[in-house]
Symmetry: C2
Subunit: 198 residues, 2 copies
DNA sequence: CCCTTTCTTGAGTGATCATTCAAGTATATA
DNA sequence: TATATACTTGAATGATCACTCAAGAAAGGG
């Protein structure tokens, strides 16, 4: 018997994520959100509760999408292949709104005042690093990477390189694709070392 | 015949830089600055003109200090030695207020709305990258790195790695020193390749 | 001691911030 | 068609924002 919302809540979260991703938390005002989402304050607060609550939703969605994208690569190209392709994918203009990782941006913007949202973003980053470690282990089990390497160490370095790459991609006048290519080659080198050793 | 200021303007800029560095632009209110600098609004605006103007001063000082620190390393350890030691230096808790690079934080926070301060930070980063390239060339001239490498490419990758490292250091529960050590070892590897080639 | 000059103080400015809520509107069921 | 049940609207709220300015305080030269 009631009235139905005129908006698609899921699509609103996507649009909010893209805006937060680009402009950050403080850089995005409620007026900005109202404009982009096409709703008035009343509807906004009925739908999401607060700016913080919506930001949290977008953080979670961002992290989930990223992990899904990586796992899709794994199914198509295997663990090592996915790790090799991910840097290029993530910097590719056609697939990304902004280039720099939204999680890292959030940690940097809000981490200075130990904020709840920054802590959540940090947790997502840790989960991502754990996923990288899992993939490196899988690559070792596949015989693509030597067992002598420590998968956790490789994952930690991989994430650090990835974050550096993604930040560089955000800058004007930096050839991010070239850096992505170099990271890919480093992983290929890792695999070659293994083949030589056998 | 006039009255002299009760504060040391230079030290105020240092303190403001540390606060901006940690909390970012939007995260630092004028009340925060008044508390940390120990001056009231009237004196603040007489001394610095505006929050933006002070931020610009702190950006410039930050960049200058970083470059000086690197050049001091060069004099003591040569070009390659400096490039090897810089990552550890920059992540060392005793020398840095925050860990992540203030320039990159500024670009990320304000770059989404093409802000003047973000552009300035970006320019400082470019200068830094150019300095890295100069050092790689010097390392080549010293015979420490093979001439076959392109110094600009090495510098671009070095900066990307450094930014990733510095962001990782800002996160809770990440062993930044280990990553710094790995970057150092990569440069040592670069040098070894050269010696082998000769 | 007086006067000029500069610095310090802090209440006050208008703008913008996130958020609230009462009034109006649309829809599904009875 | 009547009514209950949401949803939409937008003006209003108090807080905080960066910033201003008039009045008072300190210091050096006459």
């Amino acid at each position: 018997m009631p009235r139905k919302p005129e908006y698609d809540r899921d699509e609103l979260i996507d649009r909010a994520r893209d805006l937060f991703w680009k402009q950050g938390w403080a850089g995005t005002s409620l007026k900005d959100l109202e404009n982009v989402l096409g709703i008035k304050p009343g509807s906004f607060y009925a739908a999401f509760g607060s700016k913080d609550a919506l930001f949290e939703l977008t953080l979670d969605r961002y992290a989930e999408t990223g992990a899904n994208r990586l796992e899709a690569l794994v199914e198509r190209h295997g663990a090592l292949g996915a790790l090799q392709r991910y840097p290029k994918l993530v910097v590719d203009a056609s697939t990304a709104m902004a280039k720099a990782c939204m999680l890292s941006k959030t940690v940097l913007e809000l981490g200075g005042k130990d904020n709840k949202l920054a802590a959540r973003a940090n947790a997502h980053l840790s989960k991502m690093e754990a996923l990288f470690a899992t993939l490196f282990r899988k690559a070792q089990d596949d015989g693509h990477v030597a067992q002598t390497f420590n998968a956790d160490v490789l994952a930690r370095r991989y994430q650090s390189d990835l974050l550096g790459l993604r930040f560089s991609a955000e800058r004007t006048g930096v050839d991010a694709k070239a850096i992505a290519h170099e990271i890919e080659e480093c992983l290929a080198e890792l695999a070659k070392t293994n083949r030589r050793g056998k």
